[in-house]
């Protein structure tokens, strides 16, 4: 259906969103904001995986959809990571009453 789109366009989109996510990681102070930026980066990697899977070819003996499986498991991991992250942030919020990563000052980092 959409075979006029060259592969590189998807890669450009993925790269751009990856860079934006990295920027968010560096610029957000709020831990949940950092978490969102990480999600953006993971999504960028997923787009890469699926684009490469659809355009490239699969070597023998590795099953027909390696990239898709990778993206699938990455989505699972992301869900688990967000759950744990929100739990940790909640724990710290109960202690400090802030959710900013640079407000936690017990350890002389």
């Amino acid at each position: 259906m959409s075979q006029q789109i060259p592969l590189t366009w998807f890669l450009y989109f993925a790269a751009a969103s990856f860079a934006i996510g990295l920027m968010g990681v560096l610029m957000r102070r709020n831990a949940i904001g950092v978490l969102m930026a990480i999600e953006i980066m993971l999504n960028a990697a997923n787009i890469n995986f699926i684009a490469f899977w659809r355009y490239g070819d699969v070597p023998q003996g590795e099953g027909p959809l390696t990239g898709v499986m990778m993206a699938l498991f990455v989505i699972t991991i992301a869900a688990a990571e967000v759950a744990v992250g929100v739990g940790l942030i909640l724990l710290c919020y109960r202690r400090w009453r802030v959710a900013d990563v640079d407000e936690f000052d017990t350890l002389s980092g």
């Binding site: 989109f13 968010g24 610029m27 898709v68 989505i75 869900a79 688990a80």
Partner: protein
């Protein structure tokens, strides 16, 4: 036509991502993030991976976004107003690093010939006479994913189940409210301006 659609979609998605990064209000950021997830799902559809698109909507918009909103609600004031901003040099650092990463990535994508040559995606026709494993996998991704998970990726499949269990249990343990802070008295909300 489809290219214009793609360009519009991607521009919208990148704008949403920028909004996620820059929005002052965290709930707005989460909304932008949801829109970005949706754009990614649309990209999956453009890549003929409708199954992945459905999974993306189900898990990211249905679960991850809601979880993040809960996190915001429980850690900020009710309206989730983001009042903390980073210092100027951190901003410059962030923009600089992101820009350089972007430039290097674009150079890399342009410089790698096998990718730039792939203008047209390979077709895997599925007819009565001829078909390929790939073609089957594309038009019937759900059963193929199921079979892969039960044959080749059985260990990752089980491990993912274990990962989710561990994450659930651990998140419950951490979020469980027990008043065991060493200095609860000093836990006053700071004056945010």
């Amino acid at each position: 036509m489809i290219q214009a659609l793609f360009i519009a979609l991607s521009a919208f998605g990148l704008l949403m991502a920028l909004g996620t990064v820059f929005a002052r209000n965290l709930v707005n950021a989460a909304l932008f993030l949801v829109a970005f997830f949706f754009v990614v799902a649309c990209q999956f559809v453009l890549l003929e991976a409708e199954f992945m698109a459905a999974i993306q909507v189900l898990i990211y918009i249905g679960a991850v976004a809601v979880l993040l909103m809960f996190g915001i609600m429980l850690t900020r004031n009710i309206q989730g107003d983001e009042t903390t901003i980073v210092s100027r040099q951190w901003r410059l650092l962030g923009v600089g690093v992101a820009g350089s990463v972007l430039i290097v990535l674009f150079l890399g994508i342009n410089g790698f010939k096998p990718w730039t040559d792939l203008g047209v995606r390979p077709e895997f026709p599925v007819t009565a006479e001829t078909t390929t494993e790939r073609g089957q996998a594309i038009i019937a991704m759900t059963p193929t994913v199921g079979r892969e998970m039960m044959t080749r990726y059985v260990v990752p499949f089980e491990l993912a189940g274990l990962l989710l269990t561990a994450a659930l249990v651990g998140a419950v343990v951490l979020a469980q409210y027990d008043n065991t802070d060493e200095k609860t008295a000093s836990a006053e909300p700071p004056q945010v301006s």
